[in-house]
């Protein structure tokens, strides 16, 4: 392939054709354009005029240029140009592609795959056989045609572990089974691992090795630590580079159960540092929801760390010594504790022996002195397994002999009998405040408010180990809070009550902070190998190389010891494990992991991973040539005066070039709109019942005729509208006969109807059954009407009041019969504040047209006429029936007048004339 200025040519000799362009130019220039024939009556005046020069007008330069460009595009296009041709010297012989295939390359996996694809293409072009060896999942490499591998590329995924010695060993065995030499391209993840040099040596023994690795460094996130109320996150990068800033996202489920980013924090690597730390202080509610931390923009298992029990809500059991103080909630020793713990903890209710099997994180004993032998031993066992026992003193404890002579196993210190009172009415001294917390105390750093005072306390015996156990003391040095470790757990004693009787501590914010520190410290249970001895952990969710969790399926359980000590690999996948009620997160990186960059011997060539895909552009050029020639055709036609023809050609080209787009508005739509708007048109809703629709149409026609003869409203032929299909905005009035069978309109149709009602349209609902039913749901039609109208935006209704404008919009009417002179007709209710003015016959009513008129008098039946104007259906009997039909017609006229003129007749201006007419 010949390469010129970044563009390669598969057939460079064709480019010699470009040499013909100047010749073509000369020829095209020499040939005059075809003459234009023109009709010209004044040619008689031209006869005999000679041309001064014998050279004709030349073809315009731009047309020549156009043709030249077209010719050049064809020549270059045929030469097979390729953009970004690969310039590598293709090797020969079999090619082995080695992949680290670990999580470290997951973020850039797609570009790795692209490059492998490019290599496969190259190898396919060179006719080389290819094999792929994934070191994380080694298999015996099988040399195949490159095309066979292309289809299998999507199946290659990174694993959440790095090649470990067992896998290296497997790979070496697999390589031994391959005969002959081969060239190796090694796609490294840029992270060092043990024994990589062994396999490198094995590969170099068979042929040349080239290493491809991405330019960017690997970043990982170590498991989140938890200390003193803050989450500690450590990010690590393999190579110390310049200062870099990454964003860590804390993800979890929100109260609605949706995974979302709960918190994000910036972590900054200082220049030359590989570690960066950040502390996240989160509300405990939020903290308990976090399920994983990840580095934004990284898509690898190493950049994800899962959280387990250590961040979840604590379970607290509150047990008080005095239980029978009904009605004195504020005096309950547990009241303040409950208030403090409610936002952060779940309570376990019940007696001491009942709650112990639930394995709460904290058990609070408030002024409990006596524990039965069974209770005590169970409690000790629980504390030794890592529980936090929080005890509060109180009158009972002070009065008992608990821990008097020797240290009680469930008390941190020995207690003196009785305790002491200070600052009371009968005692010396003043109430004591708190001393600042010592550095060794878990409370260190909390500010001590001055208004916290202690009046009564139980006193600790001055034992040799007392000083170690005091974590808070009063200003005079007497211990206030003492703590001792017991097994994996600890016992903490507050030397005051949990309520405000002995001190004001429970009333202060300090109490909350102290409890928070204590209870949080209890939640971070460290997993010891001995503690997990003999347990089996079941994987719930496992993480793939990209850091996405998926259901573990039927993966087998893992021994607890392996879980803590074992290396992550095919048999121990990172993810969430469960044993009983405990959950444990196994992350790709552990807190002592150190990421180190891969180091290659100097004789191994290392290449970056940037790739530029080859793009053949011959097709584009040939299309361009076609386009230019088309333009040339049009331009030539225009020049020779056949512009009409040129227009046709341009249109044809346009049709060819662009897919004709369907008209937004079809002719049918336009016809409908034209028919509906040429004249005023009355419309009725098509119900699907042919008979009802025919009568409704005939009724509308009859009403239109009546209007035509009697008023200046001259409607055209009525239209039946399909609510789903037709636009309603054209019609001032919709007549909607109700049939029980008609389908419920769709949501879109209802949207249209509501818009129609809002914009001043009126719907006349007619249940057509007032001969047999009254208004309401007493008939099938009525029920159907209720169903149909439920989604409609209909205001409150009332029967037509005697002063409604419908009664005088054109005719003076008092009732509104149709074929049946039955029930009342309902319209929009008048506003409540409409009052009748003294001396006026009617109220000043609402300003707009009632959006609905509902009745059941089968008006269309009364209005219906055939094409000859003869009434279709009988109304009543004899003359009285005809009178009823006349009144029905008058109602129709009034209705249309009301729709068209609004409340015009409601205007008080008309009062004198109307009064005159009414004979008052």
């Amino acid at each position: 392939m010949t390469v010129l200025a970044g563009i390669g040519f598969t057939a460079p000799w064709v480019l010699l054709g470009l040499l013909t362009l100047p010749i073509l130019w000369l020829i095209l220039r020499a040939v005059p354009p075809a003459p234009i024939r023109r009709l010209f009556p004044a040619v008689t005046l031209l006869l005999g005029l000679k041309d001064e020069e014998s050279v004709s007008d030349r073809t315009p330069w731009w047309l020549l240029l156009l043709r030249m460009m077209a010719a050049a595009a064809i020549i270059i296009g045929l030469a097979g140009p390729v953009l970004n041709p690969s310039r590598e010297q293709a090797g020969s012989g079999p090619l082995l592609l080695v992949l680290d295939g670990s999580w470290a390359g997951a973020t850039r996996w797609s570009s790795t795959l692209d490059q492998i694809d490019a290599q496969l293409t190259e190898a396919g072009r060179a006719g080389r056989t290819v094999a792929i060896l994934n070191l994380t999942v080694p298999e015996v490499p099988v040399f195949q045609a490159a095309e066979a591998w292309s289809g299998r590329l999507p199946g290659l995924v990174p694993m959440p572990w790095q090649p470990k010695p067992p896998q290296i060993e497997q790979a070496l065995v697999a390589l031994d089974q391959v005969e002959g030499g081969f060239e190796t391209h090694w796609f490294s993840d840029r992270l060092a691992y043990d024994d990589s040099e062994t396999i490198l040596a094995a590969l170099q023994a068979r042929g040349g090795v080239t290493v491809y690795q991405s330019p960017s460094s690997v970043v990982g996130l170590l498991p989140a630590g938890y200390q003193d109320g803050v989450i500690q996150l450590t990010a690590q990068r393999a190579e110390a580079g310049p200062a870099e800033r990454i964003t860590v996202l804390a993800q979890g489920r929100d109260p609605a159960g949706v995974m979302r980013v709960l918190q994000s924090a910036e972590v900054e690597f200082a220049g030359g540092e590989t570690q960066a730390q950040i502390e996240l202080a989160l509300p405990s509610e939020l903290r308990a929801r976090i399920t994983r931390f990840e580095i934004q923009g990284e898509r690898s298992a190493g950049a994800v760390t899962l959280t387990d029990d250590s961040l979840r809500r604590r379970e607290v059991a509150l047990i008080a010594g005095t239980r029978n103080r009904e009605g004195l909630e504020l005096l309950s020793p547990l009241h303040y504790l409950t208030q403090v713990l409610i936002p952060t903890a779940d309570f376990v209710d019940g007696g001491l022996l009942d709650v112990l099997p639930a394995n709460p994180d904290v058990i609070v004993l408030a002024d409990v002195a006596k524990l039965s032998g069974g209770e005590q031993s169970a409690l000790v066992e629980w504390v030794e397994e890592g529980g936090l026992l929080l005890r509060f003193a109180g009158p009972r404890m002070a009065a008992s002999d608990l821990g008097r002579d020797e240290e009680d196993i469930l008390l941190p210190v020995r207690l003196r009998s009785g305790g002491r009172s200070v600052g009371g009415a009968m005692s010396w001294g003043e109430a004591k405040g708190l001393a600042p917390f010592p550095e060794s105390s878990p409370f260190y750093g909390l500010s001590v408010p001055g208004d916290v005072s202690v009046t009564t306390q139980v006193m600790a015996q001055p034992d040799p180990n007392l000083a170690d156990r005091v974590i808070a003391s009063l200003s005079d040095g007497t211990p206030l809070v003492t703590r001792k470790a017991l097994g994996l757990g600890q016992v903490v004693l507050f030397h005051v009550t949990a309520d405000a009787e002995w001190s004001s501590l429970p009333l202060s914010g300090l109490f909350v902070e102290m409890l928070d520190r204590l209870a949080v410290a209890s939640a971070a249970k460290s997993r010891q190998e001995s503690q997990l001895q003999g347990t089996t952990w079941e994987p719930i969710q496992v993480m793939d190389g990209f850091g996405t969790l998926s259901d573990a399926g039927n993966l087998s359980g893992v021994d607890g010891v392996d879980l803590v000590s074992g290396a992550i690999g095919p048999d121990l996948r990172p993810g969430l494990y469960e044993s009983g009620k405990q959950k444990l997160a196994l992350n790709v990186l552990t807190s002592d992991t150190v990421l180190s960059p891969a180091v290659w011997p100097p004789d191994v060539p290392i290449k970056g991973q940037e790739i530029s895909t080859e793009t053949p552009i011959g097709g584009i050029l040939l299309s361009l040539a076609l386009l230019l020639l088309t333009v040339d055709v049009i331009a030539s036609l225009a020049l020779s005066g056949r512009l009409g023809l040129a227009k046709v050609a341009a249109t044809a080209v346009g049709v060819l070039l662009f897919v004709p787009q369907a008209d937004a508005q079809t002719p049918a739509d336009t016809d409908f709109a034209l028919n509906a708007t040429k004249e005023l048109v009355l419309a009725h809703v098509l119900t699907g019942d042919a008979q009802v629709d025919d009568i409704a149409g005939a009724g509308m026609r009859g009403l239109a005729q009546t209007l035509f003869y009697r008023t200046s409203v001259e409607p055209a032929e009525p239209i039946g509208v399909d609510l789903e299909r037709d636009e309603l905005a054209f019609f001032p009035l919709l007549y909607w006969p109700i049939t029980p069978q008609q389908p419920q309109p769709s949501a879109e149709a209802y949207a249209k109807l509501n818009a129609y009602l809002r914009s001043g349209g009126m719907i006349l609902f007619d249940t057509r059954d007032s001969d047999v039913a009254r208004f309401g749901a007493s008939s099938p039609n009525g029920r159907k009407l209720q169903q149909l109208a439920a989604p409609l935006n209909i205001p409150s209704l009332e029967p037509v009041p005697r002063d409604h404008v419908l009664t005088r919009a054109f005719y003076l009417l008092q009732d509104f019969p149709g074929r049946y002179a039955g029930t009342e007709v309902w319209v929009e209710a008048a506003p409540l504040d409409a009052e009748q003015i003294e001396g006026m016959p009617f109220r000043n009513l609402n300003d707009n047209v009632t959006p609905v008129v509902i009745g059941g008098n089968d008006w269309a039946g009364a209005w219906a006429v055939d094409r000859n104007g003869q009434a279709l259906l009988p109304v009543g009997r004899g003359y009285a029936g005809e009178r009823q039909r006349e009144l029905a017609n008058r109602f129709g006229v009034n209705l249309v007048m009301h729709v068209l003129t609004g409340n015009y007749k409601s205007d008080q201006v008309h009062v004198p004339a109307l009064l005159d007419r009414l004979g008052q």
Partner: protein, 291 residues
Amino acid sequence: MNAALTLRERSEAEASRLPPLLARAEHLAGTVLLGDHGRRRSGLGDDFWQYRPAQIGDSRRMIDHRRSARGDQQFVREREWQIAQSVMLWVDQGASMRFASDKSLHTKADRARLLGLSTAILLVRGGERVGLTGTTLPPRRGNAQIVRLAQAWSEDAEADYAPPEHRAMIPHARAVFISDFLGPMDEVELALTKAADRGVRGVLLQVLDPTEESFPYRGRTIFESVGGTARHETLKAGELRDRYLERLANRKDALTQLCRATGWQLGLHHTGDSAQAALLWLYRALDGGTA
């Protein structure tokens, strides 16, 4: 039988062409107010002029009894003096007239016929007799004559450049010649001198297409007459423009000289301009001759 049918069909087809031309001509004529043409004095005529008291010397027959019966005085109804002039029209039906340089323009023939017919309508309304030069349609009055004129002008002539018809001209009548006058000049000369010999005076209206005035052509072009009898090929049409315009000006000059010698008036009209202006000019030019 067959011949009659064919004739009928053809005449129907012809008739169907008439109304639009007639209607447009009537429309155009309606825009010109008839004012100056009446003689404004009593005399022989059809129209009522005035009542005047009977004088001595009036014959009894002249007394208008309807008016006189209203009072004691006797009145005589006088009529407006009307005399009829004969106007002969010639509109070029040649192929060269059937040309319009643009779709939005009317052909010269169309415009010439429209002007001719509108003039005829106006003249007929004014009580004149109108006809064609030559023997086909001698001057007559009345609306039927308009229809006949329209019919006569709905037929195209074969010749590329039709010579003016100058036979059977009534002495001392008026004449209107409408053409593009692009054909042979001697024919026009012959017609005009002949007319002048007979004391016929009148108007020449030259109707030209705008492109015939501007000659906006360029490049290699073959110019053809509408009938196809004459053609001229040039390699550079743009070069011809000046010389063409010079020739056109010469032709106009020749016409002006001719008119001056014979006492005719020469008008120029372009199809791109309003027909009404040309009609007004025509009407004025004719009226000036008759008054």
